[in-house]
Amino acid sequence: MVKDMKTYLVKVVIENKASARDPEGETILKDLLIKGGYKKVMAVRTAKLLKMWVEAEDDKEAKDMVSKLCDELRIYNPVAHTCSINVEGE
């Protein structure tokens, strides 16, 4: 039996590891948020977001495929970055 393929939106977020400084996030916090009066914001980290629309049978297959390609093609540099992957639905 041929299973139905659906299109899923998968979001890949790449950010610097905690041990690698994020000067852009630091500047946004210090020079925009704190100076703008939002003193309860404790930290800001910037990240790169990739949206991928992929065909898969289900959520798990969509996530596994994107996870595999991120590792194989070095979509992030494991020395400096973390990569989180979330399936946002069909």
Binding site: S19, A20, P23, E24, T27, R74, N77, V79, A80
Partner: protein, 234 residues
């Protein structure tokens, strides 16, 4: 001897490098398009500076998958000299031929200026004729040059003498003030454990003629002459 200078879409220091090798160092060199899959005629490879693939996704990552990189890997494994300058360094990092990462400058700005570099190691083919602690003047011109590596791997680099160049001041002092981009421990260039693959953010090809230097210097030549002498002695 013959040197291959690889041209990627977006390379822009390819002709400067060719000029220095041909006209200043008097060595044969050719520009080689990145789709080439045969470098058997060459004794050394240079990946020049520029903005390969417009730095999309991350500087150097897309060029790391160019067909020519298979040949570059083979030559690296066989001990040939491989030099990556600026974007070429980023490509060597992203192709896994050198460890670490090159992140956005801590100032968040593109930096273009002359710097002083202290020679930390002469393990690399490209510095083996230069005395340790010598100061070299060269310009930098980059947006993503902040070298980063985790603490344990940094210790390993020190242990194996792979840290080749560090940013210093005019007296050779290595400190925060002489660090232009926030690189960990002021690192400007590293080599692999074998010493034949070397990457650096500064531009030796822009510092090889006195006419082009505000200091009447031509220190960049030392990097190329070390490579040339190595190949001739090999």
């Amino acid at each position: 001897m013959k040197v291959a200078i690889i041209q990627f879409p977006g390379s822009n220091c390819d002709f400067d490098t060719l000029h220095v090798l041909n006209k200043v160092m008097n060595v044969k060199a050719n520009l080689v398009w990145h789709k080439s899959d045969d470098l058997r005629d060459y004794d050394a490879v240079i990946l020049p500076g520029g903005f390969s693939y417009g730095d999309r996704l991350r500087a150097g990552i897309i060029a790391a998958y160019s067909p020519v990189m298979k040949e570059v890997r083979r030559m690296a494994k066989d001990g040939y000299p491989i030099l990556g300058i600026c974007n070429g360094f980023q490509i060597l990092i992203e192709s896994g031929l050198l460890p670490g990462a090159l992140l956005r400058n801590s100032s968040l700005k593109f930096i273009c200026k002359w710097v002083n570099l202290s020679v930390i190691s002469n393990k690399a083919i490209f510095t083996h004729k230069i005395k340790k602690n010598n100061l070299l003047r060269m310009p930098i011109a980059h947006n993503e040059g902040r070298y980063f590596i985790e603490e344990d791997d940094l210790k390993e680099l020190y242990k194996r003498d792979q840290i080749v160049l560090k940013y210093a001041d005019e007296y050779g002092k290595i400190n925060g003030r002489s660090n232009p981009n926030g690189s960990i421990d002021n690192i400007a260039g590293i080599c692999n454990d074998e010493g034949n693959v070397f990457g650096l953010m500064p531009h030796p090809e822009r510092a090889s003629e006195k006419l082009l230097s505000p200091f009447d210097s031509d220190d960049g030549k030392m990097i190329f002459s070390s490579m040339i002498e190595y190949v001739k002695e090999r």
